[in-house]
Every structure is written in structure tokens, then in C-alpha cells.
Amino acid sequence: MIRVVIPHHLRTLAGTGAEVSLAVEDPVTVRAVLDALETQYPTLRGTIRDHVTQERRPFLRFFVCKEDISHESPDTPLPDVVVAGTEPFYIIGAIAGG
């Protein structure tokens, strides 16, 4: 299972805790993880990436293994430790605003 850590407001929308577990078929990519997340929690559609363009919202970032992978292709396979569930996939909101 893929572990995904989501920010506060998305937890509220999805009705979950901080971390959710998802079954994702190979190859495990950012796109595949987000597809699975939105399938399991339809209320999150449109909140992480644009409905039409599928672009990541500008105030969100994706991290794995302490690295920012936000600008990598969404079709790049994620590291084995994420696939194995040892490390989570983080969706992080910008620490900004008032």
C-alpha cells in the first residue's frame, strides 16, 4: 500500500486522518497516486490539481524521501521505498498567507 500524507484542509474534506493508504497498480507514479487518491476520496478532485489541465495547484508541493519532486514529470516512477510503503508520499501546502 502507498502511504500518502495530506494537509489539514484536505483531511477535513476527505474525512480522514493525516495519512491515507492507497492501493496503486504498477507503475507507481505521481499521476497514479493522485488518480488513486481522487478515486478513493472524490471530494478531493480539483483541490490538488486542476480539473482540466491536471496541473498541480501552484501552492502545493509533492515530497518523497525529503526531496521536492513537484517539477518532475507526473509519470516518473516513484522510489522503491514509497512503493514498498516504507516512506510516504507527501502533499504539502505552502506555508504562506494570513
Partner: protein
């Protein structure tokens, strides 16, 4: 005993204020959707327990919620607002073409006849409709594509469709207003649209009498007299007696004719309320005095209403969707401020009291009169 439910949208959540018909003791519930900007909440006239709410923030975009129990519980509905066809461009602040991009829902207007039908006014300016209780949305593209769309330009707050007024006597007719394009009317249920800005004069645009380009802040109608509309424009309070075919100014003796809100007494079609704001450079009341102005003559002659409102050191603003009236006898009037106060008058504006005074900045106020 009858009562009222005041729906308040703020920068950091929604609040629901309820009272019986005396409107003296208030219960405050919320925040709902804490931390989200709630641009607008409104209830269905057909089913008062059906509420719609627009949540948005810069991180997670747009979300729409629906309640079927008067706001006790909410469910997430559809947030996919996709422009019809190739969206094209409107003007950017510097006059260059800029692609249409959906940003947020400013206003939700439930149908007068069907609880599952609701209209959404959005930024960048367009009108959407849902006929399944908010699950799916479809643009009424005739507005954006009627011809002047490429000339529309955003106001300081963005290019927003912020006002939707439904004609209770004619289900095919509705009015909308856009900052900064102007007012528009449809007579065929939203298929085709007509700019209705004749008589508006805006000195801050290249052609002060242009067909479009006017920064209309708000429209208001009395349901018993649907051909008469009042408008708070960026500057000027205006009135039409022919459904928008022409407008004339009724600012009269107001201390300043800049402002955002305008509304009409529930039982007196010629009694109108505005909150004058000093200027578009200084978004606060003149002289630090928060005054609602009331005209009992359909404009031109205005009286300040001050009892219960701060008359010194007050520098809040009252935004365009932040005034509403109930339909009790006597008419209740409500407005919210960017300082987080929601004021109520149970006597048509003669006296005021704050229901709450420390909310986040208030973006919208609606009121439901309950049986």
C-alpha cells in the same frame, strides 16, 4: 413563532446566526469550513433547509458544499467549472488580452422554483447553472460569448460575476453584474444576453459612456416591482424603471456615492439602503462614522441611520454581498463588515445592534425568514 437565519461568509469560515422573530437573542453557530474563504452562502426559497456554500482558497481552489438540514451538516458537491468551448481572452489590467481562467465562485443564487437548480457567478466572469443540486455545473456561455466579452476587464478584486438577480414575475428573465464590465439581462433563460448600461457614466474609463466597462458593484430589486432595479456602481447610486434599458442617478444628498451594497426594504419598494464609503482609494466610511443611508423615496433623498452604529474611529468596509433584508414585519436589515461585525436592525434601520463583533472579515450576509 417565526424566526430568521443569517448566513455569514467570512475570510476564515462560515457562521450561522439564528433568532426568533423578535430578533433580540441570537445563537451563533460556526465556524463551518474553518480556515476557508467563504465567499457566499444562500438558501433555497423553495426549501429553506437547502443551503449552498462556496468555499475557496489559494491552496486548494474551489469547493462547493450543500446542506439539507439548514446548515447542521454539509456534503461536498461538484467543483468542476469548465468554460464552454475555447474560452478565448478578456482584457488584462494593462489592456492586453488575457485568457479566461476559472478562479472562484463569488455568488450562488438558488432558483426561485426548484431547490436543485442553482446559479453560480464566478471569476473570471461567467455564469454557471446546476440542475442537480450542485453536483454538476454547466456554463450559460451566451453571456461570455455575446460579443463584448473580449472587452471586459477586471476590477481591483478580480473580474467577477458577483450579482445574480432572478425576476420572480418572469422565469426567463434574470440580471447579472460584473466588475468591471457592467450589468446584463437575459429574457430567454440565459441563452442570449443584452448589456444594460445605458445611462451609466464612469469617468475612469476611456469612454465614460461605453456600452461595457462599468464597475457595477451591486444590483437590488423588490420582487413586487421587478422592472425597477437599484445599483451601487463604483461611484454613483443608480436606478432603472424599465428593467435596465436606461439608468438615472439617484445619489442625491449622499455624503459620498461610492460604496458596495444596496438593498431594498421587504415591504416598501421605494425604501432603499446603501452604506456610503469614502472613496475607492480609502475603503472606509467618511469621517470614521459607520452610517447606513435610507431613502424612502426610491433614491435622491437619503437619511443617515446611526443609532447603535459606531460614530467615531470606525474604518471598516462593507463588501458588495454583505447586506440583506428579512421579510418579517417590521423588516429586518443586516450587514457585515470587514472588521468582523454583523449588525442587525429589527426596525427597518431605525436602530442597530451587533449580533457578533469579532468574526473574521465578513464577505457576505444573507438572511432567511423562517416559518
Amino acid at each position: 413563532m417565526s424566526g430568521v437565519r443569517v448566513l455569514v461568509g467570512t475570510r476564515k469560515g462560515a457562521f450561522i446566526l439564528t433568532a426568533d422573530g423578535k430578533r433580540e437573542q441570537w445563537q451563533v453557530d460556526g465556524p463551518f469550513f474553518g480556515g476557508w474563504e467563504i465567499f457566499h452562502l444562500k438558501g433555497s426559497p423553495v426549501n429553506p433547509n437547502r443551503l449552498y456554500a462556496s468555499q475557496a482558497n489559494d491552496w486548494f481552489g474551489q469547493v462547493v458544499h450543500r446542506s439539507d438540514d439548514g446548515g447542521k451538516t454539509w456534503e461536498t458537491v461538484g467543483n468542476e467549472f469548465v468554460y464552454e468551448g475555447v474560452p478565448g481572452t478578456h482584457q488584462w489590467y494593462d489592456g492586453t488580452p488575457h485568457p479566461w481562467e476559472f478562479k472562484r465562485v463569488w455568488h450562488l443564487e438558488p432558483s426561485l422554483t426548484d431547490a436543485d437548480t442553482v446559479y453560480a457567478g464566478v471569476e473570471d466572469a461567467a455564469l454557471f447553472r446546476s440542475t442537480d443540486g450542485g453536483k454538476t455545473w454547466r456554463e450559460l456561455a451566451g453571456l461570455r460569448q455575446h460579443g463584448t466579452g473580449p472587452d471586459w476587464q477586471p476590477g481591483a478584486g478580480g473580474m467577477c460575476l458577483h450579482t445574480i438577480v432572478l425576476d420572480p414575475s418572469n422565469p426567463k428573465r434574470m440580471y447579472i453584474a460584473i466588475s468591471a464590465a457592467g450589468a446584463f439581462r437575459t429574457d430567454d433563460g440565459g441563452k442570449t444576453w443584452l448589456p444594460i448600461n445605458q445611462g451609466l457614466r464612469s469617468e475612469y474609463i476611456p469612454d465614460p459612456n461605453a456600452e461595457v466597462g462599468h464597475c457595477v458593484h451591486r444590483l437590488a430589486m423588490h420582487p413586487a416591482r421587478p422592472n425597477v432595479l437599484f445599483m451601487q456602481k463604483h461611484w454613483d447610486v443608480m436606478r432603472t424603471d424599465n428593467a435596465g434599458d436606461s439608468w438615472h442617478e439617484v445619489s442625491g444628498n449622499l455624503p459620498t456615492d461610492f460604496g458596495f451594497v444596496v438593498d431594498v426594504h421587504a415591504h416598501e419598494p421605494d425604501t432603499v439602503y446603501v452604506v456610503p464609503i469614502k472613496s475607492d482609494s480609502e475603503h472606509y466610511p467618511p469621517d470614521g462614522k459607520l452610517r447606513v443611508y435610507r431613502s424612502r423615496t426610491g433614491g435622491n433623498d437619503w437619511e443617515p441611520l446611526t443609532k447603535g452604529l459606531p460614530q467615531q474611529n470606525c474604518y471598516v468596509n462593507v463588501l458588495r454581498d454583505a447586506m440583506a433584508v428579512d421579510s418579517l414585519d417590521s423588516c429586518g436589515v443586516y450587514f457585515g463588515t470587514t472588521g468582523g461585525q454583523v449588525y442587525a436592525s429589527a426596525d427597518a434601520g431605525d436602530t442597530w445592534m451587533p449580533i457578533v463583533h469579532d468574526l473574521p472579515a465578513v464577505l457576505s450576509v444573507e438572511v432567511q425568514t423562517l416559518p
